[in-house]
């Protein structure tokens, strides 16, 4: 099946007050129709920057190189007018903060209708009917009333549902969810994930899910891409990665997740393991493994040259960027 999204060697350089920041350092990934790919990593690892660069939503001074293809079209080379047909039409995004991502000055109906007008050519009664349908699809009760509501009249979970409905309005081929549940309480998180799962089975949309929450990933993703300091450190089928993470960072993330196989393996310990230290902010290319300073398995080799992403098994679609990957342990299922 052809990939809806193909990202190849994406590099993003941002600028802050002190100079350039290498936010994304050569990310490649693809999402096929009907597939849910999770992009996982700590805050500051570049996952949101990756998401924003897919639709060229980064600030104007950001330098983006590499390739982002949506249905074969190179997004980074599109004219502004062509780009607008992709934004919201082929690729829709749901952002982390439902509180601030909706415009406080316009009603829910107005904001959904904008997308319907732009990408579906619907107006008036037709747009209204479709908006009602979308609100029902994301589980919003009394949609007639909600269409007239303003964002401040809705709860966080409700706003995120509206964001999703708005994203669906353009009937996108790819839905990018950037930390969709981070700002929500646990019960609401579960409801939002149910909606996403339901959408995927009903529409066959490709979904790119960006999150730091491995619990969310285990629930709905098919494949996982683990990012660290702007680069991909491991990619695997969700089942393989949860059972046998090869990169020490991925293993560390799983060790910090209650109930995961890795956490259970180390069940002799009284508390969940944390990864010491923080994600570095890189201002120049590295001559070492970015994770080495935090890694217990690091050797001189790790501090002298950067590891490349290589197939590592046991499954053939499992790849890791590490000189000393974790051994494949036999874990009780």
């Amino acid at each position: 099946m052809p990939a809806v999204l193909e990202v190849d060697d994406l590099q993003v350089r941002l600028f802050d007050r002190t100079g350039p920041v290498l936010a994304v350092r050569g990310i490649s990934l693809s999402v096929r129709r009907g597939e849910v790919v999770a992009l996982v990593g700590e805050s500051g690892c570049g996952k949101s920057v990756t998401a924003l660069s897919l639709l060229r939503l980064l600030p104007g001074d950001a330098q983006v190189t590499g390739s982002v293809r949506v249905d074969g079209r190179e997004v980074l080379e599109l004219s502004p007018a062509q780009l607008r047909t992709i934004r919201g039409g082929e690729v829709a995004m749901v952002f982390q903060e439902p509180m601030t991502s909706l415009n406080p000055a316009f009603s829910v109906g107005n904001q959904i209708a904008e997308v319907l007008r732009l990408h579906q050519g619907l107006r008036g009664a037709q747009a209204r009917a479709r908006a009602l349908e979308l609100l029902r699809m994301v589980g919003i009760g009394d949609p007639e009333k909600r269409l007239r509501s303003f964002p401040h009249e809705l709860s966080g979970g409700m706003r995120q549902r509206v964001m999703i409905a708005m994203a669906l309005a353009g009937e996108p081929k790819l839905l990018v969810l950037d930390e969709p549940t981070t700002a929500l309480d646990v019960t609401t998180q579960a409801q939002i994930l149910d909606i996403v799962r339901d959408l995927r089975s009903r529409t066959g949309m490709a979904i790119l899910l960006i999150t730091h929450d491995l619990g969310v990933v285990a629930d709905i993703a098919d494949r996982i891409v683990v990012m660290y300091a702007g680069a991909k450190v491991e990619e695997a089928d969700v089942y393989d990665l949860f059972r046998a993470p090869r990169h020490p960072y991925a293993a560390g993330l799983l060790g910090a997740l209650p109930g995961s196989a890795v956490a259970r393996r180390e069940a002799g310990r009284l508390r969940l393991a944390e990864i010491p230290g923080m994600v570095p902010v890189l201002r120049a290319p590295l001559e070492s493994c970015a994770f080495a300073p935090r890694c217990q398995r690091a050797t001189d080799q790790c501090r002298e040259q950067p590891p490349l992403l290589t197939p590592c098994g046991p499954a053939d679609d499992h790849a890791v960027a590490c000189f000393h990957p974790e051994p494949v342990a036999t874990v009780p299922a």
Partner: protein
């Protein structure tokens, strides 16, 4: 909503009463005797002063004077100016239309120049046009209105001879002549307003353009003009509306300097003369009407806020 309006009306009446007391006491606290100012004779005998004070009720206790004044206001009989002998209502009805017209024209000029300039400066932030806009705005804020007024008179009235240097013709008697007299003072005041509005619009717009909902609007595929003029503008207009309200208050209370420069017998001119002459009834009437106008502006502003920001609508209704 009804409760809200009633409560606001109550507050407005209270504010007016407080304003009237302050004006009443304030003018009497100013040094200088009205009888002496009236006659122009500094050596007036105590008997003569007493006679004049008796004529205008100035010898009564202050609360009685205040009550008399209040009754006059409520019955609409403001009496005559002891200085000019003219009924105060006549003086007001000749001065206020001039100032109101000047205010409206100046505000229109300010809005038409300031708001688009602020939007453009924000969208082109850090570009040449942004710096140029800011420089012009700073210039507009810094130059004194009398100097700018005189400069305009020099250019358009003296050198080019296309506009009258001073004076006033009512709009009803000759609209063309009225506007030709008004255009320069309105422009002098309007550019000052434009400078304030431009800076407010620019900063409000910059803030809105950084907001998450603007990113959402772009992610939807909206063209940039819609992103700026719909999503960002609506949210940044709230602070601009506040500044417009404040500026309207300033303009309406009479911009004496500009009125003097262009020889316009407006509220500013009336106030200055009344203050110099210790013309208590006129000062009181002008101050009270100005206060009432500002209260009405603020009242109207609340509805503008409610239109611009639905959140205010709900809070106000509760």
């Amino acid at each position: 909503m009804k409760v809200y309006v009633i409560r606001r009306l109550g507050v407005s009446v209270f504010t007016l009463v407080v304003a009237s007391v302050l004006v009443f006491l304030g003018i009497r606290a100013v040094p200088g005797n009205p009888a002496i100012a009236l006659t122009g004779n500094a050596n007036l005998s105590p008997a003569a002063i007493a006679a004049i004070e008796g004529q205008y009720g100035l010898n009564k206790p202050l609360p009685v004077q205040y009550a008399d004044w209040l009754r006059q206001i409520l019955t609409g009989h403001l009496g005559s100016s002891p200085v000019t002998g003219m009924p105060i209502t006549t003086e007001l009805s000749s001065a206020f239309p001039i100032t109101v017209e000047l205010t409206i024209l100046a505000m229109l000029i300010g809005i038409v120049i300031g708001i688009p300039a602020g939007i453009i400066a924000a969208v082109r932030r850090g570009k040449a046009i942004d710096y140029a806009g800011n420089a012009i705005a700073l210039f507009g804020l810094s130059i004194p209105s009398f100097w700018f007024g005189i400069l305009l008179i020099l250019i358009f009235a003296v050198l080019l001879r296309v506009l009258p240097a001073s004076g006033y013709v009512s709009f009803l008697s000759s609209p063309g002549s009225n506007l030709s007299h008004m255009v320069m003072p309105a422009f002098v005041l309007g550019t000052g307003v434009a400078a304030v509005l431009m800076r407010q619009m620019r900063s409000g717009m910059l803030e809105a353009l950084r907001a998450d909902y603007v990113r959402t609007a772009r992610a939807k595929g909206l063209p940039e003009p819609s992103v700026v003029l719909k999503h960002a503008l609506r949210n940044s207009l709230v602070t601009v509306a506040t500044v417009i309200g404040l500026q309207l208050g300033v303009l309406l209370s009479g911009v004496a300097v500009t009125e003097e420069v262009f020889g316009l017998p407006g509220v500013g001119d009336l106030t200055i003369n009344a203050v110099f002459q210790r013309d208590y009834p006129t000062i009181q009437a002008v101050a009270l009407i100005t206060a009432a106008a500002i209260i009405v502006i603020n009242f109207a502003l609340d509805f503008v806020y409610a239109f611009l920001s639905p959140r205010v609508r709900v809070e106000g209704a509760q």
